[in-house]
């Protein structure tokens, strides 16, 4: 396969470009950055080992998501904790972003209020620049569903962010 990434150094270039966005995506499922990085590490190695084309970004994100969900299923206590964490928006977690000002902090906090289904679409779209088709492939939903979740996310975010402002 000509476009398959096979060279040893290629992954470093790819990782430098996608790494932060992948970790951000993984953190939508777990609250610890260490867990998120473990997930990305496993996903990246698995993806590279199978020599998938890096053009297939949807598959890479699907791999991250699958490993994250497996992790949650394996550890029921962790799953319960994560569910509580998702519901409890006041919980303090490690920030996902580097902030320039308080307004950005508010925006990030509003982002945390979104349901996971909307947040994962938003993260893939905004910070990883996936198309709705790629998002749909990663989440195994239609691209129309992906697009509508994105719109719902923005609408909720706007409402919450404005409310905070």
């Amino acid at each position: 396969m000509e476009d398959a990434v096979t060279h040893e150094e290629d992954w470093k270039v790819c990782f430098a470009e996608l790494g932060p966005g992948l970790v951000l995506f993984a953190r939508q499922f777990v609250r610890s950055i260490a867990d998120a990085e473990d997930i990305v590490q496993e996903a990246f190695v698995r993806f590279w080992r199978k020599q998938h084309s890096i053009e297939n970004r949807g598959l890479l994100y699907a791999t991250v998501r699958s490993i994250a969900l497996d992790l949650l299923r394996r550890d029921t206590r962790r799953a319960r904790r994560e569910a509580v964490a998702s519901a409890d928006m006041e919980q303090t977690t490690e920030p996902h972003f580097d902030f320039d000002d308080g307004s950005q902090r508010e925006l990030a906090a509003a982002l945390d209020l979104l349901p996971i289904e909307q947040r994962e679409v938003l993260v893939m779209k905004i910070w990883n620049e996936l198309t709705f088709a790629e998002i749909g492939a990663a989440l195994e939903i239609s691209q129309n569903t992906a697009a509508s979740r994105y719109r719902y996310a923005l609408a909720s975010l706007k409402k919450n962010f404005v409310a905070h402002e």
Partner: protein
């Protein structure tokens, strides 16, 4: 135009935190381990499984060879024992010429393999193919004999031998 363009722009200004410095190193190690398991050099895991019968055969072959050597050496030893017995019964006449040649010469070597351990695949320095490392424990017995007097000297010592066997995918 959509109603959210300003919000999208604000979101894009948020920069995800950089990954930990060691994450790339961990991935590198993970990929190296995968390669070490065979993708780049010795084939993927199922291929490795196909080598196993070869090593069983090799192990059996080694055992057979060791047994053969042992038996062969025992056969070599036997006459010399008899000779020693004869020498005791009827020692060779001591002559001045015999005194000159009064020296021990190696007469037998016995090598008994009592343990062979397969230590798996290893990469040697600079090698691009893994090699199987076999560690063999033996006991060697060397015997010297004085042909003139029939006297013999026997030294026995343990040895450990490490053999690197190239593997083949065929």
């Amino acid at each position: 135009m959509n109603d959210f363009s300003e919000l999208e722009a604000d979101l894009k200004k948020l920069r995800p935190r950089p990954t930990s410095p060691d994450l790339a190193a961990r991935i590198e190690i993970g990929l190296a381990e995968v390669a070490g398991r065979g993708t780049a050099t010795a084939g993927v895991l199922p291929k490795r499984r196909s080598f196993r019968p070869n090593w069983i055969a090799l192990g059996l072959g080694l055992a057979a060879a060791a047994t053969f050597l042992l038996l062969a050496r025992m056969n070599v030893d036997r006459p010399s024992t008899k000779a020693a017995g004869l020498a005791l019964i009827s020692p060779a006449p001591v002559t001045p010429a015999a005194r000159v040649d009064d020296s021990f010469v190696p007469s037998a070597l016995t090598r008994v393999v009592y343990d062979t351990r397969d230590e798996g695949l290893h990469f040697t320095d600079g090698a691009d193919q893994p090699m199987r490392r076999l560690r063999t424990h033996k006991r060697e017995t060397v015997q010297w004999k004085n042909p003139q007097t029939g006297a013999s000297l026997r030294v026995s010592y343990p040895t450990e031998e490490v053999t690197l066997v190239p593997i083949s995918g065929q």
